[in-house]
């Protein structure tokens, strides 16, 4: 038996940097350093653990859609232990929204061949958290998402989903799309050996024509949503700061009473 796992990852602007918008109201990716989205590290980790815990012959492929620099995200995943990588890159992809991105990912996943897709719970820039569900809808396979625990055995994926009002145990037959949360387990750091090995691992580059996608199906012009304006949130006006000299709690209560909270 063999098991083909495709992990979808995103290259995002560093959340600790000064993120802002470009003139066309897309996320500015030039002025802030990028990196593999932290939430996708959990996806890579779970894919590697599934691989390590399996008696099958498992191949882990990392897939990203993004500009040239996005290769850094693939390189990081390869150095963690993924086997190979696919980079979908095309100038026409600039400004593509979640609906369009899910199309590109679905076509790429199908072309790569898969039994299991593993995604993070959301990106750290757009934070919509909808791509795994969109991918499952497009691929026509079960969606087993937002898992804090995941296992694969005998062609069945099982996992625990911690919802707002209940904890659910889920189960589906492969092929399937899984997403994992930041509660699924700390992601490993690449070892020196892993970093060296990653340099020799294959990275394939595909463009839209490789995926039979027309340029009018993706990109900013063809997005399903329009951002009309983006404004920096006004800085909060400086508040009152007091040093506790023994009455700090009472002073705070006085403030809260003044604001009618008590």
């Amino acid at each position: 038996m063999s098991l083909r796992i495709v992990v979808t990852v995103k290259y995002v602007p560093d959340a600790t940097g000064d993120r802002h918008f470009a003139d066309d109201l897309t996320v500015d990716r030039d002025d802030v350093d990028g990196l593999l989205s932290e939430l996708d590290e959990y996806a890579v980790e779970q894919a590697l653990q599934i691989s390590e815990n399996s008696d099958d012959d498992v191949e882990v492929t990392v897939l990203t859609v993004g500009p040239e620099d996005a290769k850094d995200a693939l390189r990081k995943a390869l150095s963690m232990g993924a086997d190979k990588a696919i980079h979908v890159e095309d100038d026409d992809l600039h400004g593509t929204d979640a609906i369009g991105t899910s199309l590109v990912l679905a076509k790429a996943v199908e072309k790569a061949g898969y039994d299991l897709v593993v995604s993070g719970m959301a990106s750290t820039d757009g934070t919509m958290g909808v791509v795994p569900a969109l991918l499952a809808e497009r691929l026509g396979v079960p969606q087993v998402t937002l898992l804090s625990e995941v296992s694969v055995e005998d062609g069945v994926v099982k996992g625990r989903r911690d919802g707002d009002s209940a904890t659910e145990q889920l189960e589906a037959s492969l092929p399937a799309v899984v997403s994992v949360t930041d509660q699924s387990g700390e992601a490993r750091y690449p070892s020196f050996k892993g970093i060296m090995a990653a340099k020799k691992k294959p990275v394939e580059s595909w463009d839209l024509s490789d995926l039979d996608i027309d340029e009018d199906e993706v990109g900013l012009e063809n997005a399903y949503t329009v951002v009309e304006s983006a404004a920096e949130r006004p800085a909060r006006t400086a508040g009152t700061i007091v040093k506790d000299e023994g009455e700090g709690g009472k002073q705070l209560a006085e403030f809260l009473a003044g604001q009618k909270f008590i």
Partner: protein
């Protein structure tokens, strides 16, 4: 006036507050038609009518509880076909966003998630979003198909607006995909008796400075004196001091209460992303240089183990 579909989040017929807030926003763009699914769907009608639903489409079936997400997508799709709405509004829970996304794809529509406000516009509803850890505010609209928009809790006031709320049975045919992901067991979360974190008017959160699971009792005591929900920073959750379901921040819950009290929380970007839109922010921290103080309306530099209990006592005294 065009109809607007509102997906109802309810537990066995008890409508959750974010759905009532959605009805307030829905009335700005059209006539709200609610869609209630699963066990107790019919029991939601009275509350929905009181808040402006002109119609309540209901469907009960075991599939909604036994399988993940897709049966609800099938039902909403059927409701869209029956009503031809001007927009579909869904509460921004994790599940709500997944339902909305799949629905949008099926309709050939765009989707906007995590709106914090909604207004009528010449070319359809305009949604306000708070992005990049709330450093920016954007206004967006869906440009293709029937707009599908998910809205965060606390984005609008709950308003009484009595309407007919006529109950109609929705006819739903489940797709082949509906039974793809089986829910083999469900364990309801134990109630703490406190308000739901994302819906609470006041949130009291503890962070690294709380320094131990047992010390969260003083955070809970303050929360209870104010009738507040309890939150925790990622540092406190990762240390195992408080459950992840209470985590406020980028990878936890995003909250926007009237009052947010941060105790022993430094205010890293990961945390700010989840609370920066709170109306009034108060912090207690030993470190006068902590970035949380840049956000506050009122801050106390001091030991939370002195300040928080004193505050709790004072609140109790004042409330009598």
């Amino acid at each position: 006036m065009a109809e607007v579909l509102v997906y109802v989040d309810h537990v066995d017929g008890a409508v959750r507050k974010p759905t009532l807030e959605l009805l307030t926003l829905a009335r700005r763009v059209g006539e709200p038609v609610a869609v209630a699914l699963g066990n107790g769907a019919g029991d939601t009608a009275a509350a929905l009518a009181e808040h402006g639903a002109v119609k309540v489409l209901t469907h009960e079936a075991a599939e909604y509880g036994d399988y993940l997400v897709v049966p609800k997508v099938d039902a909403l799709q059927a409701a869209v076909a029956a009503v031809s709405p001007a927009a579909v509004l869904v509460p921004s829970s994790a599940e709500g966003k997944e339902i909305a996304a799949r629905l949008a794809l099926r309709l050939g529509s765009g989707i906007i998630t995590d709106a914090v406000d909604l207004e009528a516009g010449d070319e359809g509803p305009v949604a306000t979003q708070s992005v990049f850890a709330a450093a920016f505010t954007t206004k967006s609209r869906v440009s293709k198909g029937t707009p599908v928009i998910t809205v965060k809790p606390n984005s609008a006031a709950v308003e009484a607006a009595p309407a007919a709320g006529a109950v109609e049975a929705l006819s739903v045919t489940f797709s082949a995909a509906a039974t793809g992901t089986k829910v083999t067991s469900r364990t309801p979360r134990e109630s703490t008796g406190r308000p739901e974190l994302t819906e609470a008017a006041i949130v009291v959160s503890g962070g690294r400075g709380v320094n131990g699971a047992e010390n969260f009792a003083i955070i809970e005591a303050l929360a209870d004196s104010l009738g507040a929900a309890v939150g925790a920073s990622r540092a406190a959750v990762d240390a195992g001091w408080y459950p992840h379901t209470n985590q406020v921040g980028q990878t936890g819950k995003s909250v926007s209460p009237q009052l947010y009290i941060a105790s022993g929380i430094s205010g890293a970007i990961q945390h700010r992303a989840g609370m920066q839109t709170s109306k009034t922010i108060v912090a207690i921290n030993k470190d006068a240089e902590a970035p949380i103080f840049e956000l506050v309306d009122y801050g106390v530099v001091g030991d939370l183990f002195d300040v928080v209990p004193q505050l709790t006592e004072e609140v109790k005294t004042r409330k009598g």
